[in-house]
């Protein structure tokens, strides 16, 4: 027995010794190089695909402030919210946090884990108020820098359009006739599937449907509970989505998001209804020169485009950070035009809200941006307010359209399905 105790304690001691020596090791490397205290700020986000690009952006910051090192540690998109929630509760969260807009971010703020940025960053006052509101309390306290917005529209293959002498459609009728021509000629019209239903809502309904349900005005009415998803304008948008079904590829019910990207990215389909964040993906798949983009077609010629310019990412600071001063310096830089310019060029398709004049180096991003000036900007239909609880408007619209495409629900039933699910909102 004594022997066992002895060997156990030996083991423990040796483990402790290893632990200590490791600790001192890292201290040494931490202080080496630059004189003074070099600190490391950990940044987290849900975009694991951005590591290289974000590292390049942050390297510019470290050039300016050599004693602050930025460590970008993203977490897989679908696990991000759970991981963030747990790490903040355990007190080991990142110093700087990418935050989703509206209720999702607000729930994090309510756990008292985020700094008040209205005091820290006076420059926020110059940001567009609609973007600020996406990361602020109802009282107007900002907890996130509005960092990036995304737009939704239609990508197309230039070579396929050229082959049949097709012009970029401006109205819905043009759009349908383009699809008709392509289908007649045996092309796969849309690289679209319905397996991942968030696409059906975020990109299709909120992006292409906005021109039919009345865009921002209609959305505001929903928020004020003056309109419901069963109203004729919202149902018409559903009907328009259903019109596209016959141009979907065979077995579209089983086609998931990644397959859609592969289909379009490799040139196997003529069009893809997607979001601006996909530029990078198509770039990686090669042949970006052949990819064009047009904004959601309007209902009839002369209509003003209702452009879904969605508030995607805000940046918040952890209230429990060890380095509040350094975080403040970094946050100030994140709210500066310098960062905005770097960010937009590294991540084409993400548009910064920071006031300033910028030059975009990506052709597709330029095209996407070109529509903004002559449009009414809006955000995703039921993202704000109507997605604060489960079943969220977000999930409901996606599910309803998915079931509508599967012929499980008729169009009016799909509208009912959403409205029923939202009963908690109207209570």
């Amino acid at each position: 027995m004594k022997k066992i105790v002895l060997s156990f304690s030996l083991l423990l001691i040796s483990l402790l010794a290893i632990g200590c020596s490791k600790g001192t090791d890292s201290n040494v490397t931490g202080n080496s190089g630059v004189s003074g205290d070099r600190v490391k700020i950990v940044v987290t986000s849900w975009r694991t695909e951005d590591i290289d690009r974000m590292d390049r952006i942050n390297a510019e910051f470290t050039k300016k402030y050599p004693n602050i090192e930025i460590d970008f540690q993203p977490v897989k998109d679908t696990e991000y919210d759970a991981q963030l929630k747990q790490s903040l509760a355990a007190g080991v969260g990142a110093d700087v946090i990418f935050l989703r807009s509206y209720d999702s971010g607000y729930q994090v703020y309510k756990t008292k884990s985020l700094m008040n940025l209205s005091e820290m960053l006076p420059t926020l006052k110059t940001f567009p108020s609609s973007a600020l509101a996406a990361w602020a309390t109802p009282e107007g306290v900002s907890y996130g820098i509005p960092s990036a917005g995304v737009v939704h529209g239609v990508y197309y293959r230039k070579s396929i359009f050229k082959k049949y002498n097709l012009d970029i459609p401006k109205t819905w009728d043009d759009f349908i006739s383009v699809a008709e021509t392509l289908q007649k000629n045996g092309e796969t019209v849309f690289a679209q599937g319905t397996k991942d239903n968030w696409m059906l809502y975020e990109v299709m309904y909120a992006g292409l449907g906005a021109n039919f349900y009345g865009g921002e005005v209609a959305r505001q009415k929903l928020l004020r509970k003056e309109a419901r998803m069963t109203d004729p304008n919202f149902v018409i948008a559903l009907e328009k989505m259903k019109e596209l079904q016959k141009y979907f590829p065979k077995g579209f019910q089983a086609v998931d998001y990644v397959t859609m990207q592969q289909m379009f990215g490799t040139g196997a389909a003529a069009m893809f209804m997607g979001g601006s964040w996909e530029i990078g993906i198509f770039e990686d798949l090669g042949g970006l020169d052949d990819v064009g983009y047009f904004a959601p077609p309007v209902a009839k010629a002369g209509d003003k485009l209702q452009y879904c310019f969605h508030v995607d990412a805000g940046i918040a600071a952890n209230v429990n950070t060890q380095y509040p001063n350094e975080v403040k310096i970094y946050m100030e830089w994140l709210a500066s035009p310098e960062y905005a310019q770097l960010y937009m060029n590294e991540l084409p398709g993400f548009f910064s809200y920071t006031p300033g004049s910028y030059t975009l180096n990506n052709e597709l991003a330029k095209q996407m941006q070109s529509y903004i000036s002559d449009s009414v900007p809006t955000v995703r239909t039921v993202w704000e307010g109507l997605s604060a609880q489960d079943p969220s408007g977000n999930a409901l619209v996606g599910e309803a359209i998915q079931l509508m495409y599967a012929d499980t629900l008729t169009i009016p039933e799909a509208a009912e399905y959403i409205d029923d699910g939202l009963s908690w909102f109207y209570k």
Binding site: T78, A82, Q107, G251, A254, A395
Partner: protein, 306 residues
């Protein structure tokens, strides 16, 4: 039954304590803590607002909660039935086949266990890739053998998705039930079967009057293992149809329901940690009742046979 006396207690302590300590620390305490959480409400993970049984009342009276809960429960039962049919019944007959001696039977026995050694996630992703319509590996096989008209959007159709997922799980753990049954059949005394054969018993007589009664305890073990496995299954759903149980919650089972409701934010189907813990506790109760029920059922069968 061994009765502990003063001489034994030291040994009993030494044998039981380590396992019990580990079990308490990593199973019992977390389960109890999770049950405690089900009585609380609040934002984030650390809950502070005591609400008593409110979460349970909400779960069973508010449509948005109970519709999902009962949907997952129903799906889970279907899932369990399909898996049981394949693993138990086909597995049993497969084991009978493999315990006959023929050329390659030993090899077949070994190879049938191979899928079980894979990770569930790997199996899930492979099945998903094979079943995808583009490039359509499985669909082109069907076309090649002239069954092209039976092609479905397998995982995209609410009517077929759950069956497909259940088949994938069964495929993976098929070898496990075969192994259980085969070892049971191996344990039957050869002389009994020989005697029966001399009396003119056919293969069916042999199966129903000799093999089945002898392996009944194994049937109960396998069924209970499948039951527990299926009612706490999560990985395969995660890999094949996402934690939302696509399409339209048709493959949502307890495992995915619990994960989604507890850890997701509200716009992705989260109910908050307190409600999530409530779902977990209900899962625990359902599994406990189910296991108790199966044990009682099989014990009675066994007594009837004796």
């Amino acid at each position: 039954m061994l009765i502990a006396n003063k001489k034994h207690w030291k040994f009993l302590f030494i044998f039981i304590f380590p396992a019990f300590a580990v079990y308490t620390l990593f199973m019992l305490l977390p389960i109890l803590n999770s049950m405690r959480y089900s009585l609380f409400s609040g934002d984030g993970l650390a809950l502070n607002e005591f609400v008593g049984l409110d979460n349970y009342i909400k779960l069973f009276t508010e449509e948005r909660y109970y519709s999902k809960f009962w949907n997952a429960f129903g799906n889970n039962i279907q899932f369990f039935i399909i898996v049981t049919l394949i693993q138990n019944i086909l597995g049993f007959f497969m084991a009978v086949l493999l315990t006959r001696t023929f050329k390659g039977s030993r090899f077949m026995r070994k190879i049938s266990f191979l899928p079980t050694t894979l990770s569930v996630l790997v199996v899930g992703f492979i099945f998903k890739l094979i079943l995808q319509p583009y490039p359509g590996v499985f669909d082109s096989v069907l076309k090649a053998i002239g069954l092209g008209k039976f092609i479905l959007p397998w995982l995209g159709d609410p009517n077929s998705a759950l069956v497909i997922v259940a088949v994938a799980v069964s495929w993976q753990f098929f070898g496990e039930s075969v192994m259980f049954y085969a070892s049971g059949i191996d344990g039957i005394d050869d002389s009994i079967i020989e005697a029966a054969k001399i009396d003119g018993a056919t293969i069916w007589h042999e199966i129903f009057y000799i093999i089945l009664p002898s392996v009944l305890p194994i049937v109960s073990i396998v069924t209970i293992l499948i039951f527990i496995g299926d009612f706490t299954q999560f990985d395969i759903i995660y890999a094949m149809t996402s934690t939302k149980g696509d399409p339209g919650y048709s493959t949502d089972i307890f495992g995915s329901l619990f994960y989604r409701t507890t850890f997701s934010s509200a716009e992705r189907g989260g109910w908050g940690t307190g409600m999530g813990a409530t779902v977990a506790t209900m899962m625990f109760i359902v599994v406990a009742i189910g296991v108790a029920g199966f044990l009682a059922f099989f014990n009675r069968r066994k007594e009837a046979l004796n």
